[in-house]
Symmetry: C2
Subunit: 516 residues, 2 copies
């Protein structure tokens, strides 16, 4: 130890002493002789609610998939040539093409010099001009109002009115968001209060999209599970809602009811009658309704139709229409456009207390505004080319092609999976996922449990390692005890999806044999 180091040591010893006096962790010496102070932020001293957050859609299985991709690219030998990520509803990543008109308008808004380019259609130019005129300094680089660009909110309101057969929509009730997730988290944030048995409880479906459980964990709210009925095509029973809320009233204050329709991960489409029943239930039990309707254009099954909660609410007459509090969420990420990366979305708020609305606006203002390109895209989704406009034909063609392909793939997925013994798949009525039930042999359950894994995680990890197919285990969404599932998107191109489904089939048979 030279003189300088000795001095350093002395200083450290003094500093360490004073830390001890304050009851702080002592510094310690690391291998290279550098004093390693105990970190300020460690797993033991970080926010405990953050630790409770789980999000399976991008969990350990996806991390392993990314590793496998890297290993493949480094030339490592695997029993497969590529990793197929069927874990997340990421349409463009699976080869779905963006709507040409939308991207033309976005390019024009990004670089308005193109407005004088004669190769762009006139309707794209007029949309771009309208959007730019609503932007400060005619630039998407300006902040918008925190609630979103006025003209976009007006277009959203008119879209909702058309969608809902003329039920009025006030643009003041529209809030543009950073994807639907942002809106959902914001609404939950407003609702959380109380401690102990008065703590806010929020009812969510099981299986659920894990944004809900993650947000509730982070906010320290109480998650109240209601189970969808797998035997009846993942339908929602009011008796189950009643059971869940009755039990929950003993340990928390149930204040909100979340519905995902069409369902994620379960793909069911709710009937009009069911929605009415849910609204009546929410009114009776005094619950704030949150309707996650991001898959509103993704309805495939014959006889199924999307009914918005807003429309049904208003058709039930003023007793409900003027009292039940409802937030409904939509997004640019799903449906036929699949523009996840732009993080566009909106929420419509019905019957919210005026003072709370002011608080909501204030809260949103802290984050300044949702991304303006996402707002522009949301505008195009709610205000697409109209009959008679130059881009109408190609728009309809592209939209129809995408939705037809999805409908075909929904059917295909259900059919192929149901040919496999030990896999049973409800019809994929809507959304973008199948959520089949899988039989896992007891021997496999035992091996999984012994290695500290959920049996369906064990199953999915094995599938990933053997086939390169990345799915999400049902345990990430919640399921009835003793049942196992996985979520698989229907997004790969049809020919690829066929190969994928066959690989799943072969894997399941192999796995079953191995553990029988």
């Amino acid at each position: 130890m030279n003189h300088g180091t000795a001095l350093l040591w002395k200083r450290r010893a003094l500093s360490s002493l004073s830390a001890t006096r304050r009851g702080l962790p002592k510094e310690k010496m690391s291998e290279n002789g550098i004093m390693s102070r105990a970190k300020v932020l460690t797993i033991d001293t970080m926010n405990p609610t953050v630790k409770k957050v789980e999000y399976a859609v991008r969990g350990p299985i996806v991390q392993r998939a990314v590793e496998l991709e890297r290993e493949l690219s480094e030339g490592m030998k695997k029993p497969f040539a590529e990793v197929i990520k069927a874990n997340i509803g990421d349409a463009h990543a699976m080869g779905q093409q963006p709507i040409t008109f939308f991207r033309q308008v976005l390019a024009l808004c990004s670089y308005p010099e193109l407005l004088s380019d004669s190769t762009f259609p006139e309707d794209a130019k007029s949309r771009a001009c309208r959007i730019l005129q609503s932007c400060g300094g005619n630039s998407m680089g300006s902040y918008s109002a925190s609630q979103g660009i006025d003209s976009v909110r007006q277009d959203v309101a008119r879209y909702i009115e058309r969608r809902d057969g003329g039920v009025a929509c006030d643009p003041d009730n529209i809030y543009l968001t950073t994807g639907a997730s942002d809106g959902i988290v914001t609404m939950l944030k407003l609702l959380v209060c109380g401690e102990g048995t008065t703590r806010t409880g929020v009812m969510i479906p099981i299986p659920q999209y894990p944004l809900y459980s993650a947000a509730l964990a982070e906010l320290g709210a109480v998650q109240i599970n209601y189970f969808l009925n797998e035997e009846k095509c993942w339908s929602l029973d009011i008796t189950e809602l009643q059971r869940a809320v009755n039990e929950a009233r003993q340990y928390c204050n149930p204040r909100a009811l979340c519905i995902i329709n069409p369902g994620n991960p379960t793909g069911q489409v709710q009937s009009r009658q069911c929605i009415e029943d849910v609204i009546r239930f929410a009114a009776k039990e005094r619950l704030f309704l949150m309707a996650d309707e991001v898959y509103q254009d993704n309805v495939y099954a014959e006889g199924c139709q999307f009914h918005s909660f807003k429309k049904v609410l208003f058709e039930m007459g003023p007793e409900y229409a003027e009292t039940v509090e409802l937030a409904s969420f939509h997004s640019t990420s799903k449906c036929y456009m699949g523009e996840c990366g732009f993080r566009g979305g909106y929420m419509e708020i019905i019957n919210m207390d005026d003072e709370v609305k002011d608080q909501l606006t204030k809260l949103l203002s802290v984050r300044l505004c949702p991304p303006v390109p996402g707002q522009a895209l949301m505008d195009l989704v709610v205000n697409p080319p109209q009959p008679g406009e130059p881009s109408y034909g190609s728009f309809i063609k592209e939209r129809t092609a995408t939705l037809s392909a999805l409908a075909e793939k929904a059917k295909l997925t259900e059919q192929v999976l149901n040919t496999v013994q030990g896999i049973s798949c409800n019809p994929v009525q809507g959304a973008m996922y199948s959520f089949p039930r899988i039989t896992i042999p007891e021997k496999a359950v035992k091996e999984a449990t012994e290695t500290g894994q959920q049996p369906d995680m064990f199953y999915c990890m094995k599938m990933l390692e053997e086939t390169g197919i990345c799915l999400v285990p049902g345990s990430g969404f919640g399921q009835k005890d003793g049942t196992y599932h996985f979520r698989m998107t229907i997004l790969p191109p049809t020919d690829k999806l066929k190969i994928l489904l066959n690989k799943v089939k072969e894997f399941h048979q192999r796995f079953t044999q191995q553990y029988s």
Copy 2:
């Protein structure tokens, strides 16, 4: 009352009864005969931490400005022809032009058909191709990794290395964010824990950018104020930091120290020595350092230079470089690009515990990913045209023009404001704002207090009504008791800024006279 209504009534009466039995608020009859249920979500039952949030930059004064704009557009007579929003750092809204190259690349990424358009320069095309190749399905519509696109993070890392004279930067430490605000809130979220006197305290400058106070209120963390020294050009004194932390240790657990450099709203640029002292202080007091460096290119005053906390930290040797935990934030919204609407940003994390890093990645994954167009823009900011590339000349010209104009306006603002008796303005060394101190006559203070307003809010509201100029009162940022300020951006075009400054001058003189 007809039969149907009577039946309805009976049902309501029953339902009301059961609500009473459960101890819930009774329903009440409204004027139109519709039963009005007590709302689930009211100002009394909403999240109390949200209520505590304040964000003056978009507060009541801006709401009034928007109203005034509407009134003007409706032909109402006012003593001014237009409202000038000098309340927020929204460059494009004030007429600043976007960098052509950036927008060309964004257009190419939005609509890749343009890659075959010969009017676009080759370097724009190669940047666009590189970005698209990093996107799933070569589309900005795909989700990126939650931490951000790999190649963008690599470019950010190389930018930081260049900026910091070769200090190494690991792309794994880079997280792309939705503007800088998102990163700052996320880091604070990780840091919050404990209750009562062990509750996390976070040191913030006063005056501060109110995102900090808003986020701390929402998270229920303890805000620890340290005062910048207005007499010494808003400099940071270590003795003041020491005072603040010593006092705070009596009622909370100080865990983080936030620095804004260059300063917002105060415009000072920290010296290298000061940054060293702050780092030493943070090490000694065991504080996680958060360096808000979004104005790193906005340095105007002679003799001032931007020094990143990261660089200074690494130059202080391993004792600090290997131990002090630091998060540094940057954004696409400020500097010469001013692209606020795209919500692009990044944070660099130094010396963070590995387990906490995993938790951070998990937390970010719930919101899926930052907006991809914002990520693309961040990439261009850190990887602009290089010498020899076709767009280099015009890029440098545009960037220089914007920064020179800002420097000129910073000087102009300081000079004009200091000609007014009762206004005293520190040099605007950097960032985009002046934060002059104003003398408010006692009579005006009295009138404000009587109407329940902060005196500087009273002053700014009066200025808005009389001149159409929208500023933010100093009370929205925090200031020493008995002192008053306002924040004004230096962003309006020079000729407009001159008019604006003269109007401020005249208003102040009138106001002073009126209340003397």
